[in-house]
Subunit: 153 residues, 2 copies
């Protein structure tokens, strides 16, 4: 994917990620490490839950969405997350789903404290292969401008 | 840890998690899978970054905090995350840090659609071993009442 700096973006820009397959193995592995609840841990026990089957942790969906976002925007020197608002999981994520993230740049401003950086406000929407929305969020991130080294020296 | 149902909680209740050690291996592993940016991936490259050393992805901090929260509250039949607001990372998390989560129940109400469940609004604050706050968030979760099976049949 093309590398990006703050300077390359403008309000209203949209980006689509590549697809990502959700596997049983990864859903269960993530759950064991970070969200050990029965509807994330075991197919059998998940079938008796309210979800009638294994679902991914919302934090796993968030992490997979981050992966897709990072690879799509590909900020040369990294995007530093400042905060996230209105993180929602309107539909469940299940093994076999294929996820995709669409990013929209909603606001941009220069950083006051770091003249070599800018702050972007973005909306990320994660959908599955049936087009159902599985996650929405707003986030702010600090990203470097071109020639940042000079500006902050 | 003691098991909990909705009925066991009241507004204002506070819970403290056990401690969790942050290791280089896990920071780098998470980054490779979910947040492949240089300040999370490699000690060497991270030293040349704005952070002057390896830091954990904010989503890794969120996932570790979930683990601590789940084990502390230990909802017998699981807590279903409805959404998260004002997720912030005011200080970095680095290998060697020891994290702890404090949960405060800020609001409780019965679920309208599911009489066997209640909705809790909670604030989770994650701190390191120096008492610095590394993450704050507000979340809503649906948790079962005692005898839910009967109520929803």
């Amino acid at each position: 994917m093309k590398e990006h700096y703050f300077d390359d973006l403008k309000t209203g820009d949209r980006f689509k990620s590549e697809p990502l397959n959700v596997t049983v193995k990864e859903v269960v592995e993530f759950a064991h490490k970070f969200d050990p609840q029965m509807f994330h841990l075991s197919r059998k026990r998940a079938e008796r839950s309210i979800f009638k089957g294994l679902i991914a942790s919302g934090w796993h969906t968030a992490a997979m969405s981050m992966r897709l976002f990072v690879r799509t925007l590909n900020f040369t020197e990294g995007a530093i997350g400042l905060g996230v608002d209105e993180l929602r999981w309107p539909n469940t994520v299940r093994p076999g789903d294929v996820l995709m993230v669409e990013t929209k740049i909603v606001k941009m401003r220069p950083s006051k404290s770091r003249p070599g950086h800018g702050i972007i406000r973005l909306r990320n929407v994660t959908t599955n292969h049936r087009g159902e929305v599985v996650q929405t969020m707003l986030a702010s991130a600090m990203v470097p401008k071109r020639g940042k080294q000079e500006a902050e020296r």
